[in-house]
Symmetry: C2
Subunit: 438 residues, 2 copies
């Protein structure tokens, strides 16, 4: 048998400790699957004293991540510290430049420096594996990189952030506000004290940039992703969506269009019957539309120590088996630049919720403004708070009007709504949610 793969782990939180535990308890299975043993030879973390429930006797404690990354005994450097900058960046780069393989769960690092790191891997022959960075144990990286090796991808989209999906699920099921659900999510540990990274869509954007690169051969770049979060979603949007046969999800969508690859994160109406609409709570899911084949949907835990560790250990096993895939599926020289998708040129259906000041006259005014922009209306619903008929005069309270459009351009929608606002026939700002068909 070949010599065992010697692993160094930087970062011993929940995930790191579970990786150590799995490598030990699953040793025989891992050796069987990889054709060689896997052994943790050195580790490092902020606190050496912390109790972690795993046996680290016989494992060297490196003085810092950089020392571990370049440790002569380490074949495979496992980075579980997180963060887009140092020490993660410097350590991963040093390991790759030393010809070692790297396994990481660090989406921020990849979304920001993925190309630079992939270049170092390509140049020095090490692997750069990151299954855990997107969807934890859901094998979406492997599926895009290897499972669909010969199949073109038209679209990849998914629920990539459990916090947002938990909040939207509770809002829908219990009719609660965004703020109430966020507070609960924080209490339950599903959301951070500063929740903006999750609820404003940035976490989803980092993951989407990685998926888009693998699917379309674009250079991974978080800055190329259009981002909108979920904080403006109101319970009435979720009720209206339900009435119309939709659910609202925060989706990351990367899609091939005539104008190039569109990458966008925003609250999205999806048909209630679609696979992605069934995904509730903190669960994540990704759907891949391959050329000429029906969609493939992968559903599972998108976070959590055990699920993340499962993916990290599988990546280590691939290194042990000698697999050296191109990190983003193709040689760097094949990857092309991405520019930020201009959302004004986005084409699709729209959900629009307005507060009409005086319904009878307003409906005509709104319809006229939409018609001027050649926007066709699939359905229009007015909701009188008292369930009665429209008031005859403009003295009553504003009445919600909900419109669903056929496919149109976003700039047309924006122009039409700007005109409606100038007409002063509505109260407040229009709510707009994009519709994604399956």
């Amino acid at each position: 048998m070949v010599a065992p793969l010697k692993v160094g782990i930087a970062g011993l939180g929940t995930v790191g400790a579970e990786v150590v535990r799995l490598i030990e308890t699953q040793a025989r299975v891992l050796a069987g699957r990889s054709g060689r043993g896997i052994r943790v030879v050195a580790v490092t973390a902020r606190s050496k004293a912390k109790k972690r429930g795993v046996d680290l006797r016989g494992v060297e404690w490196a003085k810092d991540p950089l020392a571990l990354a370049t440790h002569p005994e380490v074949d495979c450097f496992v980075e579980l510290m997180g963060g887009a900058g140092d020490p993660a960046l410097a350590a991963v780069e040093a390991a790759l430049n030393a010809g070692k393989s790297v396994v990481t769960a660090n989406k921020a690092l990849l979304a920001k420096h993925g190309i630079k790191l992939a270049k170092a891997a390509e140049k020095h022959g090490g692997a750069l594996n990151f299954e855990a960075a997107v969807g934890a144990a859901i094998p979406v990286i492997k599926t895009l990189r290897e499972g669909l090796a010969g199949t073109g991808v038209n679209r990849v989209y998914g629920i990539l952030n459990g916090t947002c999906n938990y909040i939207l699920t509770r809002m829908e099921q219990e009719g609660l506000s965004f703020a109430e659900c966020l507070k609960d999510a924080q209490r339950l540990g599903y959301a951070e004290a500063d929740p903006s990274f999750d609820v404003d869509g940035h976490d989803t954007a980092q993951k989407l940039a990685i998926l888009a690169s693998l699917a379309f051969g674009t250079k991974v770049a978080q800055s190329a992703v259009y981002v909108e979060g979920i904080s403006s979603i109101a319970p009435e949007d979720l009720r209206a969506a339900a009435d119309l046969g939709y659910r609202v999800k925060l989706l990351g969508v990367a899609v091939r269009t005539a104008k190039g690859i569109e990458q966008r994160v925003h609250p999205t109406m999806v048909p209630k019957s679609s696979s992605i609409a069934q995904v509730m709570g903190v669960t994540n899911a990704v759907t891949i539309d391959g050329e000429g084949i029906p969609p493939i949907t992968l559903v599972g835990p998108g976070a959590g120590g055990a699920a993340t560790a499962s993916a990290v250990v599988a990546d280590i096993a691939d290194v042990a088996r000698g697999i050296r895939a191109n990190p983003f599926g193709r040689p760097i020289s094949h990857l092309h630049d991405t520019t930020k998708a201009p959302m004004e040129r986005h084409e699709g259906g729209y959900y629009i919720r307005l507060l009409a000041r005086d319904f009878p006259g307003t409906a005509a005014a709104i319809a006229t403004r939409l018609a001027e922009q050649k926007i066709s209306i699939e359905s229009i619903v007015q909701r009188h708070p008292n369930g009665g008929a429209a008031p005859a005069t403009g003295k009553a309270a504003p009445v919600p009007v909900i419109l669903i459009t056929y496919a149109t351009h976003e700039d047309a929608v924006r122009r039409a709504l700007a005109a409606v606002q100038r007409d002063k026939v509505i109260s407040g700002r229009p709510q707009v949610i994009r519709i994604e068909k399956n």
Copy 2:
């Protein structure tokens, strides 16, 4: 760059022709992903004259599958003929014995001769890849073999036959009988003229045996799978299931129990809220319960030329990249024998539908027989055809009685129902459907 991988394809039906087309049209992407070119150098099929819509000029026509399998120019033999016996068996064996790699979509061959073939692959160093054999383009083989390399599996189950799921979906949605839906499925090309291989569960059993081997390290053996088909399912079962919060699916289930690995295929009640219950029509799905992590569900097309070809080409790309996984995830010497699960010892909840001759007295009689076997009843529903109260005497028409039990042993259920039949308080045979919790 390394020399291209030279591929020989036996069988040029819809799948084979699509494989040829993908290798040609995706040449650059495949080379980028694999690190080397992939070239079809020789083919064989029953008819050389048939129009296939692909360009085979410059490709050698081998005189038969065996000649192709041992062709000195061929590095990777792709078997797309099907069938558990020759010529597929002889050709695959010959290719492996010659040290070549093999890619096949042939579930029957693997379920029957998988171990023999894996031994040949192990001995001579070739790969034996078969992603397309289960769930076509759904990457379930790769997920079990590589994606969960270090995570123990407690259960794997799925909808593995599109024909059965199509029939059950239509029966449920339109209240039609099994026979009517089967006829439609045949008309639409979803079912064969002789449908028994699909509807009696044998197709599912072959696929399940393959999944069980990868999940649990058992020697693949179709004969170890308990099999029941869907032909006895009636529309009233689907209605009752819906009322009780379930759906009926033909599942293949492989599960680790205290008594060993249980492998079984049967109509199954699954909670309507589960991921697997959402899968409708010809779509397939597999759920994997890994140790310590929430379930992962993979959903997608389980058949079709393009979907199958997509998986075959990905397997070829893995061969080109030099990946040589153990066919069943572990060395042959690590695989253990399987015995057929004795269903009498199966533990779980049961749905039981009886036709009671005289309800008031009968309910007591049935309850007594179940109590004798220590079976606890979760719910009992009687359905009077006229919606009225139970008749006071035994003169009325039989009344359906539907019972849901708490977890119990199958032999207890069988003994109780045999006693109920001896009591002559019911008409006809009881309908029994096992419940699978998520």
